[in-house]
């Protein structure tokens, strides 16, 4: 299921003296079965954009195509429930949405809103609790008796239980410790690889975008200004600076190495492992030559 934004603009409080434009003619596409990252400074329009992916917000001009559904400015769209099921959003600090008496009931809330039977919803809950790395006995507990990290996983399970075709992640690792961050990001990456779940990561972390995304879209002051593979995007440090962004550590370190060796590595490395093997290879070549 593709998502397309065509010349989408959005203004908050439209028609009042407090009107504020947040998006300006945003135009890009999220193809099925890809992992996209949307990066931008706070205030660049990232959170406004992600609310258009499941029609929580309607554009004030332009069109949003979500699969077969078209959401147009001005026309009140009916029956958006189907869209909400197909595009799942994990908001920042999703643990704040937990409310049910038990973890099981909370995870079942989403799917049952979309007409899934109680048995099916329960089965999904059991499967997902394991997927997000929680023990099965947690299902009977109250979500409010859990630690912050556990609550977050329950909330994520609740969104995955809807079995969406696209998943949007808004700063999924905010506030987690290093181990927690790695576990969550790896989990979503596995879902992407194993189930082809189209994934849209909205983040500040250049490192995560570099490590996981096929394609990166850069937002700046309400407009999408750059789009490309991580290698393409991170090569151009000057342009990134104009958007008040810095390439990930890895890339910056690679530049230090290239400066020292006075020649470039064969490719832009996106992970520590890649960089280590590239540098090792290059050094072996150097030694072979001399």
């Amino acid at each position: 299921m593709d998502i397309k934004l065509q010349q989408v603009s959005y203004a908050y409080a439209q028609g009042t003296p407090f009107e504020k434009r947040a998006l300006f003619d945003v135009d890009f596409e999220i193809p099925s079965h890809t992992y996209q990252a949307i990066i931008g400074h706070t205030g660049s329009g990232k959170s406004t954009i992600l609310q258009h992916f499941n029609a929580l917000l309607r554009p004030t001009s332009g069109e949003v195509h979500i699969g077969d559904r078209i959401v147009v400015a001005g026309k009140k769209a009916k029956d958006l429930k189907a869209v909400r099921q197909k595009v799942g959003i994990v908001f920042q600090f999703p643990e704040h949405q937990l409310f049910e008496e038990t973890v099981l009931k909370d995870i079942m809330f989403g799917p049952m809103n979309f007409g899934v039977s109680e048995q099916e919803a329960e089965a999904r809950a059991k499967e997902l609790v394991d997927l997000v790395g929680l023990p099965e006995n947690i299902l009977e507990k109250s979500p409010f008796d859990l630690s912050g990290g556990q609550m977050r996983r329950v909330a994520i399970a609740g969104v995955l239980a809807m079995e969406p075709e696209v998943i949007v992640l808004d700063e999924p690792t905010a506030g987690l410790d290093p181990r927690g961050q790695k576990e969550i990001m790896d989990m979503f990456y596995n879902l992407y690889q194993e189930r082809g779940l189209t994934t849209i990561l909205v983040t500040h972390s250049m490192e995560d975008a570099a490590r996981y995304a096929d394609n990166i879209v850069i937002m700046h002051e309400g407009k999408n200004v750059l789009s490309g593979t991580p290698q393409e995007i991170f090569k151009d440090v000057e342009t990134l600076k104009n958007f008040r962004l810095e390439p990930p550590r890895i890339v910056r370190f690679q530049q230090k190495i290239e400066q020292m060796m006075k020649k470039p590595l064969q490719k832009v490395c996106l992970t520590e492992e890649e960089l280590a093997s590239e540098v090792a290879r290059m050094l072996r070549e150097e030694r072979a030559e001399s």
Partner: protein, 281 residues
């Protein structure tokens, strides 16, 4: 150099009657000297937040004692002791009491009965130190997380404390906010020699400290300079923490057979070593 704060054989449990459960903090001792920056690191549940509460009298230890400026912390000297310490908490919103920035900075001063003229001076001076002087009348919901935390720091500084405690003050912030806060603290130390104790799981923050206290399961696992602590390498990862970027890369390079000497904490060290070990022919 005098001792600002110390924990001496402190043991604390949230459920003292339950002999099955383990203590939140078990026989922990350490001291903070004037002018130092100490970082307390550990995974969630390691006891670090409990230590923060013990330090300012929100909790009292079942065994051992907490000393502020060498005096044991008790209910009698609680308020006096609290005015010697400034504390910044994790959630930027849930510690912002005032209707505007300057009102919030003045809060602790009002509580301590500081006269009006003095309050005005201190509020402006504190906001100057955290570079938020342009935001005097701003309301909190118009501020970013990093800005709110800087206001919180100003509020703590207004009482001219001997110690600034940062209790996971950067965990909820975006990278820019984190940078702002850490930059502010570093500048403060350079300008005033402020003693800082920060509780964190962020590496970058821990690396700025003079000494690190590594907590695990309520016990003090290790104490030392950042270099000494990070030398524990994989043990840190096992216990839920991360390694500095340069160190991770250094290990990976060595695994790939690149000759290098020892461990590296900073990128500069790594680059220099790569050069000397491989290109100085």
């Amino acid at each position: 150099m005098s001792e600002i704060l110390s924990l001496n054989n402190v043991t604390f449990s949230y459920t003292p009657e339950d002999h099955e459960s383990r203590n939140a903090v078990e026989n922990v001792s350490f001291a903070v000297q004037e002018g130092e920056w100490i970082a307390i690191v550990g995974h969630n549940g390691s006891g670090k937040s409990t230590i923060a509460k013990l330090m300012n009298g929100l909790l009292y230890p079942q065994q051992g004692d907490v000393r502020i400026l060498r005096e044991v912390l008790t209910e009698e000297n609680l308020w006096e002791s609290r005015s010697q310490m400034g504390m910044v908490f994790q959630n930027p919103d849930n510690q912002f009491v005032g209707a505007t920035v300057q009102d919030d900075v003045a809060f602790a001063l009002e509580n301590n009965g500081v006269p009006f003229e003095e309050m005005v001076k201190r509020v402006h001076a504190a906001l100057e130190q955290v570079k938020m002087s342009d935001f005097l009348d701003h309301e909190p919901h118009h501020l970013s997380g990093g800005q709110k935390q800087r206001v919180a720091i100003a509020g703590a500084l207004a009482l001219k404390p001997k110690l600034l405690i940062l209790d996971e003050a950067t965990s909820m912030l975006d990278p820019q906010g984190r940078g702002e806060v850490l930059q502010t603290v570093q500048t403060l130390r350079a300008e005033t020699g402020l003693t800082v104790l920060s509780i964190t799981h962020d590496l970058e923050e821990a690396m700025l400290a003079d000494r690190i206290l590594f907590m695990n399961d309520g016990k003090k696992f290790a104490e030392g300079t950042p270099v000494e602590i990070f030398a524990l390498g994989d043990k840190l990862v096992e216990l839920g923490l991360d390694l500095p970027f340069a160190m991770k890369l250094s290990k990976l390079l060595q695994k790939e057979g690149v000759p290098l000497m020892g461990q590296h904490m900073t990128e500069e060290e790594l680059v220099n070593d790569l050069w000397t070990s491989n290109f100085n022919k």
